[in-house]
Symmetry: C2
Subunit: 251 residues, 2 copies
DNA sequence: CAGTGGTCTAGACCACGTG
DNA sequence: ACGTGGTCTAGACCACTGC
């Protein structure tokens, strides 16, 4: 078996030129997608990969550089290169951009409101690349920081992938749900797009978040993607931004 | 004159090891800060810089790679490497993350409300690394998209740097204010941090934005930095998010 | 001490843009 | 045809980690 990538643009000029390291990147990406290396595990060393793919170590290096820049891999000098995971304290806030105004860390607690299986409404189906009526899991929860309700989440997941997800398993699990998705369902969230607006709390929302009706809330609509840009989660969060703010950096 | 960076860690082991390419990066950064190359202009070729700094072209390359990743430089194959600017159509939305829900581009128009020089309130001074009472410029404006008022901006700038900034010069200028800052005052904004909340429109704000009192607004507080992480602008924007949303990508 | 990623170099060749 | 950045290689050496 030869894994060697073919060689466009080296012999004859080609219409679609793709650098070798991009092809290597795709191969590694495929390995990640197929679960060849699990989140938190080390991938083979650069020299091993170079031998496997029949390219120089420098070329593998450049491929890994890009995957590390995308946060799919984590390099650790002297130790190896590891598959990114949501299971580490360091990256707990990779997808949660809410910070306390005073900067102090807070104890967080999650209260699951419900977790049901139902047919996807059109809007949800569209976001998840499914058909209207396909099975989806819908869960809602309230996240509290220092015992103050702060986030009301409404989460939609493809039913055929998140099969055993129940209220009990959610309540049992300690840690971010993205870590649970990884370990229980083999789904790694790799990237997400968000649309943010200011809205007014309905009475139901206000009650769940212990704020006055018509309080302003930050609405964060998120679509999370796994490898290959496949949407795996639609989430609508409502954030109380009295003592917390959504932080962002522009480059 | 020798620009050659010194060489820690090559001869004897050193406490603070800094790779050669990082030192080159700093040297290029200093050149940018000192205005050796202006926004939009090309910097010398990799080989020229390699000769100037007495290192290999590959090392210069790696330094430029990082500066390009930070959006300080823009590489253009076959043409050269250019200093990033806010003056190009392509990057007009680098710092403006508001998008129309329907995705259609809109004609934008800016109405300047006022532009005054006054003594910095404590909060403003703190954000701009100045002393309370130092001179600052304060301008306010309304941005409209397709003739619909959408953003109310309140902008604070260090007075000793933005000397000739007046309401007339602002009104005369076509294009983003960041482009004006570059061309008129030599200040390049390179990075920004934002804190985002949901708030309720005061009657004054509501009137300026033509929305009902107590409408929900997205409050975006931004500190913009020039080279060397020096804060140069404090801006509080209020966004109407009825037909527009703030978009963000998480990695 | 061995193995990993990180740096640096030198040289060959390719793709792109411009004359 | 030339100069720019982009790719690929091979080899030497350094820094960090863990046995």
């Amino acid at each position: 078996m030869t894994d060697r990538p073919h060689d466009p643009g080296r012999a004859a000029s080609s219409a679609a030129f793709s650098p070798l390291y991009q092809q290597i990147k795709s191969l590694i990406l495929r390995g990640l997608d197929h679960g060849e290396w699990k989140p938190g595990e080390a991938i083979p060393s650069e020299f091993e990969l170079a031998a496997r793919y029949q390219v120089s170590q420098g070329t593998v290096r450049k491929a890994i550089d890009e995957l590390a820049a995308d946060n799919l891999l984590i390099r650790r000098q002297g130790k190896g290169t590891f598959v990114a995971t949501h299971n580490e304290a360091k990256v707990r806030f990779r997808f949660l951009r809410l910070s306390a105004d005073d900067g102090l860390p807070a104890a967080s607690r999650s209260q699951i409101l419900d977790c049901r299986r139902l047919k996807a409404p059109p809007e949800v189906a569209g976001a998840l690349d499914m058909r209207t009526g396909d099975m989806v899991v819908n869960m809602r929860r309230v996240l509290s920081f220092d015992a103050i309700p702060t986030i009301l989440d409404d989460i939609w997941l493809p039913g055929h992938i998140f099969k055993g997800l129940t209220m009990e398993s959610l309540e049992r699990y300690r840690g971010p749900v993205y870590a649970l998705f990884e370990t229980e369902f083999g789904v790694s969230m790799v990237r997400a797009d968000e649309k943010i607006r200011a809205v007014i709390a309905t009475s139901a929302q206000a009650e769940l978040l212990s704020v006055p009706v018509s309080s302003p809330l930050l609405q964060v609509e998120r679509i999370s993607y796994t490898y290959g840009d496949r949407p795996m989660e639609l989430r609508r969060g409502l954030y109380v931004t009295e003592r917390y703010h959504y932080r962002n950096s522009l480059n």
